[in-house]
């Protein structure tokens, strides 16, 4: 069953990245998100993990949720039209005291059969096709060497359900959900993913209606009626297709005000005003803080007037993002540096990069 409503939500977000690319177990992220239990209400939780499928690192790892197991056949038929299924299995889950029932989760490791340059677009197409046309099946994640695990429940319970302590990844992001109205639906939980993007989001996008229609112009169909979906698609459109540098995503998604742009030097002014003129439909309005995971890193960002919390922290070679400081201190009591993100600011970390402590990136902070 598909959630017919878009769900405005509260939520907790957290992310851990090892800047050396060393994999760590899912235990840490579960502990971190669990601290923010009160920010969730048990109606959704989830995780994205990067680097967890080194064996199939070149293959698309599709996590597919089957509300209706009978749809498995339909989905696999579609997949097989474009991919060879190198391996598939049910995602192992364990029954816990809290979660006693769950839908069928499958994962498929897929090799694209067509031309290489189109493969990402093909994957997007397939995801759109399945998610919009096959009722009862839903592609949860579609990236390489990464996976999204999510469901109805508190995030820590979902983590335990999916036995995440058994996975090892260099980057983990997590989400605890506080929807204000909801029918529990496993597909509605965060993170939301497309290709290797994963997005967790705290907030509500007031510009949803236009962002959705803006994306429609570029062939993205937003069927899930979640804010997070538009964020994921916007990031995909801007970074993958329009080649926007991640560190400058804030210029588009949470752009500075015209009056700030007025005061900038000529070069910056030209950049920002061009961006705003062209990308007005991609501006995300309303309160949000998001963490976006991508191969090799993650970034955090808050809205243009900072209506939702987000902190970034560094300890040795670990980069943290979280809604609350406690969720970082829980797993790393001592920190080298802790900063609160400014309005419209993007702070990113990438494997192999030095700790930048977020300094060069405050391009559009208010």
């Amino acid at each position: 069953m598909r959630d017919p409503f878009r769900i405005p939500s509260g939520c907790a977000v957290s992310g851990i990245l090892n800047l050396d690319g060393k994999p760590v177990s899912g235990t840490h992220i579960i502990r971190s998100i669990e601290v923010m239990h009160e920010r969730s209400n048990g109606l959704g939780g989830g995780f994205a993990a990067y680097g967890i499928y080194p064996r199939y690192a070149d293959l698309y790892a599709f996590h597919v949720l089957y509300d209706d197991p009978l749809r498995k056949q339909d989905v696999e038929t579609i997949l097989k039209q474009r991919f060879s299924v190198e391996h598939s299995e049910e995602i192992p889950c364990r029954k816990t005291d809290v979660i006693k029932e769950w839908p069928l989760f499958m994962r498929y490791f897929l090799r694209y059969l067509g031309e290489e340059e189109n493969e990402d677009d093909e994957v997007v197409q397939v995801v759109m096709e399945v998610n919009s046309s096959i009722h009862g099946a839903y592609i949860v994640s579609s990236g390489k060497n990464m996976g999204i695990f999510k469901g109805v429940g508190y995030p820590e319970d979902i983590g335990r359900l999916f036995r995440l302590e058994e996975y090892r990844g260099y980057c983990w992001i997590a989400h605890g959900r506080f929807p204000t109205n909801s029918v529990g639906w496993w597909g509605g939980a965060h993170p939301f993913g497309l290709l290797s993007w994963s997005v967790v989001h705290n907030g509500e996008i007031s510009s949803y209606g236009i962002n959705r229609r803006y994306l429609q112009n570029f062939g993205y169909l937003c069927n899930l009626q979640t804010d997070t979906e538009v964020i994921a698609y916007l990031v995909d459109l801007l970074v993958r297709k329009h080649r926007v540098h991640i560190d400058y995503l804030g210029a588009i998604l949470a752009s500075p005000f015209w009056e700030q742009i007025e005061r900038m030097d000529a070069q910056k002014k030209h950049f920002f005003s061009s961006i705003r003129t062209i990308y007005g439909g991609a501006l995300l309005n309303g309160p949000f803080s998001i963490i976006v995971g991508f191969p090799g890193g993650m970034f955090g960002m808050v809205d243009r007037i900072k209506l939702r919390p987000m902190l970034a922290a560094w300890k040795n070679k670990t980069f943290f993002l979280s809604s609350e400081e406690c969720a970082i201190r829980e797993i790393s009591p001592d920190l080298d540096r802790l900063v609160a993100l400014k309005a419209g600011e993007v702070i990113s970390g990438r494997v192999g990069e030095r700790n930048n402590y977020g300094q060069k990136l405050a391009v559009s902070g208010v």
Partner: protein
């Protein structure tokens, strides 16, 4: 001549206790309704000529006058309304087309009044415009699909050259009203106000008087079927050029400025002989197809070195979405759509009241059509035709307009009382007239101030409403129909508007 069957439309009540026979009403009525008696002790009124413009009422220093619709003249009849009967009498007497001015006054549904806006509660904080910036700045013009940016340097360098844009501080533009249809002072009021508030006014098809060249940066000039006043400097001095194909008040027909209004200054502006009728043909005789339009669009772009956006204005007719799509593909940077309630200085009443469709439906359809074709960003959408308040503006934006044109609202701001007699040239408010006795009644300093106030007031209200929705930039509302809900509309109407019914959540 046989006796007319018509009788006065208005009744004038003069409170004898209050009237001081000061003759202000006598001096102010261009229709010679009031007359002082010989001894100047009393003032008499002859109602036959009264158009109900309320000028005398407004200026009467003792409030001795009331002008109201004369009741009970016609026998009530659900089918044969007063309007129909009057029309028949007039035509039986004159044998001519009934003329009228301003926009359609029939009671067709006004969809603005069936659309409701959203506001934030709990999950999303509303924004207080007194404390936080809320942005109304908008750019009209073709938008590139994406920007090519060189990320290699210290700071990213935008490589793409943006198409020319019109920067609007408020998404409200004064619509096309020619010098000729309105007075010099009225046009000056519009031009000065546009400059003051950071928006534009439109020359209409009346050319541009040299006095207004200094305002060129805030003027959109029109190229219409009559090509009046169109020449190189006219195109180059303006901020944008608009090709007028059609007008909401009279889709499918041309225009006519009677010779008596073609004064020396208007003749100079329009480049036509003094006192000659200025007739705009129904079609452009060089545009019989969409390909022809494309040629004109690019001819103009060539003339202005591609430095300014070119707009194309069409009336909202049944197939407007497809036509607009064609117009976009013909190279228009801005598509202007004018709905059935759009105003005019003169139009046959039967056309004004019966041809075209409401702008709300046209806008919704055009915006959706362009998006579904993936060409919405190729053109901005400017809509016109019956925008009455900031609420209408914001609803239009939410439906998908980039900005709105206001004509009637601006004129009302200048003092128009909608008597619909613009075509007579005897506008007592000094707006739609060239009579020097009347034109000076509109002091452009006052006119400018009133328009600036009006637009400021609207922009405050728009900011309040945006803030209430938790949106601090107008582009986040543009086309964001999630913030609209319909009341009292059928499923079909909701579908055409692309708006959910009130009560439906997200």
């Amino acid at each position: 001549m046989a006796k007319s069957l018509l009788f006065p439309e208005f009744k004038i009540d003069r409170d004898k206790e209050r009237c001081i026979s000061c003759q202000v009403c006598v001096r102010q009525c261009a229709n010679d309704v009031h007359e002082g008696s010989d001894n100047e002790d009393t003032v008499l009124s002859q109602e036959e000529n009264c158009v109900g413009c309320q000028r005398c009422v407004n200026l009467c220093p003792t409030n001795a006058l009331t002008v109201h619709k004369r009741e009970g003249g016609f026998r009530p009849n659900g089918n044969w309304s007063e309007q129909h009967l009057r029309g028949i009498y007039k035509q039986a007497e004159s044998g001519g087309i009934l003329l009228t001015g301003m926009g359609c006054d029939r009671s067709y549904p006004i969809y603005w009044d069936h659309l409701l806006l959203n506001a934030s509660q709990v999950t999303n904080p509303s924004i207080d415009p007194l404390r936080e910036p809320i942005e109304l700045t908008s750019y009209l013009g073709r938008k590139e699909e994406k920007l090519d940016i060189d990320w290699s340097g210290e700071f990213p360098l935008v490589q793409t050259r943006l198409a020319p844009q019109l920067e609007l501080k408020v998404p409200v533009v004064f619509s096309a009203m020619s010098y000729g249809s309105i007075s010099y002072n009225a046009f000056r009021s519009l031009a000065e106000a546009a400059r003051e508030v950071g928006t534009f006014c439109n020359s209409g098809e009346g050319g541009l008087h040299p006095d207004f060249y200094p305002y060129g940066d805030n003027i959109v000039v029109q190229v219409a079927s009559g090509r009046f006043g169109v020449h190189r400097d006219y195109l180059r001095v303006a901020a944008a050029v608009e090709i007028k194909i059609g007008q909401g008040a009279k889709p499918g027909i041309g225009g006519h400025l009677p010779g008596e209004k073609v004064t020396k200054e208007i003749s100079r502006t329009r480049k036509i002989p003094e006192e000659s009728d200025a007739i705009s043909p129904a079609p452009h005789h060089d545009i019989y197809s969409i390909e022809d339009l494309e040629r004109l669009v690019f001819a103009i772009k060539e003339a202005i070195n591609y430095k300014k956006p070119v707009a194309v204005k069409i009336a909202a007719v049944h197939n407007v979405a497809a036509i607009a799509s064609g117009v976009v593909r013909a190279g228009a940077d801005i598509v202007t759509i004018d709905g059935i309630r759009g105003g005019t200085g003169a139009a046959p009443q039967v056309i004004r009241d019966n041809v075209g469709i409401p702008i709300e439906l046209a806008l919704a359809q055009v915006d959706e059509r362009l998006r579904s074709e993936g060409i919405r960003h190729h053109s901005s959408l400017l809509i016109a035709g019956g925008i009455r308040s900031s609420a209408d503006v914001i609803k239009a934006i939410a439906l998908g307009a980039d900005a709105v044109y206001v004509g009637t609202a601006a004129l009302v701001g200048l003092g128009c009382h909608l008597c619909q007699k613009c075509y007579t040239g005897k506008c007592n408010w000094g707006i739609a007239t060239q009579d020097p006795v009347l034109t000076k009644r509109l002091n452009p300093n006052i006119g400018k101030r009133r328009l600036v106030n009006l637009i400021r007031a609207w922009s405050f209200e728009i900011k309040e409403m945006l803030g209430g929705m938790g949106v601090n930039a107008i582009e986040s509302l543009r086309g964001n129909r999630e913030h609209l809900r319909a009341v009292g509309l059928s499923k079909e109407e909701c579908a055409v508007l692309g708006v959910k019914a009130a009560g439906e959540g997200w």
